[in-house]
């Protein structure tokens, strides 16, 4: 699959999620992301595993968003409202996590026009920081456990933090050296093997755009089902075209990457 197709998918799904707090739209959006993740994540790759971390983040965001509101004077409507806003954030995180797991961020980097290459490279390296740090934390925690230090204990936190940070700094320096030694920033660039827009890639991008168009035009038309009022609390209604649009984002899961 062309990385641009995944980028389109993620941007469309994410934008659609920002437009609604209706759980009947958000849940199919999240489910679509999960299905796409399950079908396409890179199995041999650490980033394929980072989806789990994004999922946990999503749950945490949902919990924090809902619980925070309980600190003040509350009524059922306020709680439900912040729960739904938390759900929206969670679904966006799940979509981003799925994108991270299915697409190669460096593949996305290759799409950047030549003059934005530097900025895109910085972004791609930043994107890779999360999976790399996760890998480093796991590695150091294991290594310390194997010498009898449980880093889970608060007092032993330096045993985890110091190697992770020091290795991170050293790795960053090695990377910078390696890039320079290999001619990065000389100003001339050519591109190796641009990936083709296969039929599957085009289809993936098109259905994503269709789904977004459905949500965007509903938003422009002021569709009341997008942001259901919880004052007073009531069972939100949903319209079938938007339900279909949200489910459409699961379609790329059925596409074979190479066809």
């Amino acid at each position: 699959m062309h990385p641009g197709a995944w980028l389109t998918w993620a941007l469309c799904g994410g934008t659609a999620a920002t437009l609604t707090t209706n759980p009947f739209y958000l849940l199919p959006l999240g489910a679509s992301a999960w299905v796409v993740y399950a079908a396409h994540h890179r199995r041999d790759h650490p980033a394929g595993l980072s989806f789990r971390v994004f999922f946990l983040f999503a749950l945490a965001a949902l919990a924090v968003r809902t619980l925070l509101v309980l600190l003040g004077p509350v009524d059922a409507g306020t709680v439900l409202n912040s729960f739904l806003e938390g759900l929206r954030l969670a679904v966006m995180l799940v979509i981003f996590g799925a994108f991270n797991a299915v697409a190669d961020p460096y593949g996305v980097l290759r799409l950047a026009p030549r003059r934005f290459y530097e900025a895109a490279l910085a972004a791609a390296l930043a994107l890779s920081l999360a999976p790399r740090t996760i890998a480093a934390v796991t590695r150091v925690r294991d290594a310390q456990r194997a010498r009898g230090i449980e880093v889970a204990r608060y007092r032993m936190l330096p045993a985890l933090a110091v190697p992770v940070l020091e290795n991170g700094m050293e790795d960053a320096l090695t990377l910078a050296e390696s890039m320079d030694a290999r001619g990065h920033g000389r100003g001339r660039r050519s591109r190796y093997r641009p990936l083709p827009w296969t039929r599957a890639s085009v289809l993936c991008a098109v259905v994503s755009l269709v789904a977004l168009t459905a949500f965007a035009s509903a938003a422009v038309a002021g569709d009341p089902t997008l942001v259901p009022s919880m004052f007073p609390p009531s069972w939100p209604e949903a319209r079938s075209p938007l339900l279909a649009a949200a489910s459409l984002l699961a379609l790329p899961a059925l596409l074979r990457a190479s066809s």
């Binding site: 190697p163 020091e166 390696s178 290999r182 001619g183």
Partner: protein, 517 residues
């Protein structure tokens, strides 16, 4: 014409009082394979980094003198401006990767130099073939084995076609056959294309035969000479050179082939039986242990016993499952089938068994060597410092030590748990012969005190001198098991140099020297 010239180079790292190299004059002609050797921490990496200007442009510090590579002066050319004439492969290829897919990573340097896409396609294919990477082209550089990563890093550095290639320990993570292949590929570039290769190594037994010139870095200076005269030094050379020096062979052999000529003139006596204490009680055992992840079987029904007094070497090619087996024995992961037992129960990590990882940096977090050992619960610090020969270094910051010394500190910190079974993953990367000797001695002490050591390694000479038993893995299965002389003796790939010279039954130069006296 000279490929690399160092003219009265003196260099001091920032915040150091003494220069690491002073007044170095060195000239490497074009089209040679130069081997850089010397004790750990002597400045070999610094010397290599001078060639493309990473020192001083990246390191900072005080630089005097002049370095010319392919006619360019590193004072006026930054590393990126040297990229088309000097290719550089750093010590730890894992953190030097920029992109993700193997194929893209190999093309990265050429993209930076603006190489034509058509030419680039062809060049990538050539590199994939030259380094046996064609089947990995679509894989992520973060998901392949250490040895595979090293080959990708070399292919990626060579792809743009620089005429000078500088490599920092290019074979330290490779299995014997993989190392042989990489060195042969480099030699082909020297012989057929007139390229200049400058490589630093500690383990000299394989690379010695490929070198045209040896550069000795020691005590702040560097000198180039014929390999024979530098590798002949007993503390430095490969086992055949030690043999030759002890037996008075002249000219001194640096390869097995040369040594065999001397040996043929003097057939040795029958090999003496190797005296090993009989192993004691079973400390831990794996019973039909398997481990699979992501649909891949990494360890396949392994049965293994580790007894008191043993030093068990795990060998096998890159990706054979050595590290995974160590993790299973160490209780870091539980087998997906079968079981691992220590005293009838699952091994308690850090109590029954301790493991020193491949990257020593993962465990080091205190500000002195002594504190680092003390940080391990239950450590008898002074005894461990003494055992690993670290007493003199105990006040230093681990960061200020060489890679080899850091490895020793990490091994000591792990051994300090006092766990009866000590597991070591690639314990000799970056160790010079002296540090290796110290490690072997402490492994022996541990075994004779009723403990056991299990170590994964590619270093056949280490196995020959330190192991009591060898377990050979392939595709996650045990394919051979027995004493080093049984398992290594008749192996075309894994036989140590002494065996190759004198035949099965002979493992180490010491054994030969003792029996001749």
């Amino acid at each position: 014409m000279s490929a690399v010239v160092l003219d009265r180079v003196t260099f001091t790292y920032p915040e150091r009082d003494r220069p690491v190299l002073s007044d170095v004059r060195l000239e490497l002609p074009e089209g040679v394979f130069a081997l850089v050797c010397g004790p750990t921490g002597a400045g070999k990496s610094t010397l290599l980094r001078l060639a493309n200007g990473l020192v001083p442009h990246f390191s900072g510090g005080t630089f005097a003198g002049r370095v010319m590579a392919a006619g360019r002066d590193t004072r006026s050319c930054k590393p990126r401006e040297m990229a088309d004439v000097v290719a550089f492969v750093p010590q730890d290829p894992g953190s030097s990767f920029v992109l993700d897919r193997v194929e893209d990573e190999i093309a990265y340097g050429m993209e930076n130099l603006g190489v034509q896409p058509r030419h680039m396609r062809r060049r990538v294919e050539e590199m994939l073939d030259l380094f046996g990477l064609a089947s990995l082209r679509d894989r992520s550089v973060r998901a392949i084995s250490g040895g595979e990563r090293q080959r990708v890093a070399i292919a990626a550095a060579l792809a743009p076609g620089a005429r000078i290639v500088v490599l920092d320990e290019p074979t330290s993570q490779l299995d014997p056959q993989g190392a042989e292949d990489v060195l042969a590929a480099l030699q082909r570039l020297v012989h057929d294309h007139g390229m200049t290769v400058v490589a630093a190594e500690h383990r000299l037994e394989r690379i010695a035969g490929f070198a045209d010139v040896a550069v000795l870095v020691e005590g702040g200076t560097a000198r180039a000479d014929e390999p024979r005269s530098i590798l002949g030094r007993v503390d430095l050379g490969p086992p055949v050179a030690r043999l030759g020096a002890a037996l008075g062979w002249s000219p001194l052999p640096v390869t097995v082939r040369e040594a065999r000529r001397h040996a043929a003139a003097r057939p040795p006596v029958a090999p003496p039986a190797i005296d090993r204490p009989s192993p004691g009680d079973v400390l831990m055992r794996a019973e039909g242990a398997s481990y699979s992840y992501g649909g891949r079987v990494a360890i396949d029904r392994v049965d293994l016993e580790v007894r008191a007094g043993e030093a068990v070497a795990l060998m096998g090619r890159n990706g054979a499952g050595k590290t995974t087996l160590l993790r299973l024995l160490g209780g870091m992961t539980t087998p997906t089938e079968g079981r691992v037992l220590s005293d009838g129960a699952a091994p308690r990590t850090g109590r029954d068994v301790a493991l020193c990882p491949q990257e020593p940096e993962s465990v080091l977090f205190r500000s002195s060597v002594r504190e680092e050992i003390e940080a391990t619960p239950g450590a008898q610090t002074d005894r461990v410092l003494d055992e690993f020969g670290l007493t003199d270094l105990s006040a230093l910051h681990p960061r200020d030590l060489s890679a080899g010394q850091r490895l020793l500190v990490a091994a000591a910190a792990v051994a300090a748990t006092g766990a009866p079974v000590l597991l070591l993953d690639e314990p000799t990367r970056g160790l010079d012969p002296e540090a290796k000797e110290r490690l072997v001695a402490s492994m022996r002490r541990r075994a004779s005190a009723g403990g056991a050591v299990v170590f994964a390694t590619h270093d056949v000479e280490l196995v020959a001198s330190a192991a009591t038993r060898v377990v050979m893995l392939a595709a996650g299965q045990v394919v051979a098991e027995g004493s080093p002389e049984e398992v290594l003796g008749d192996s075309a790939v894994f036989a140590p140099q002494t065996t190759r010279v004198f035949g099965p039954g002979w493992l180490t130069p010491d054994q030969v020297i003792a029996s001749v006296r």
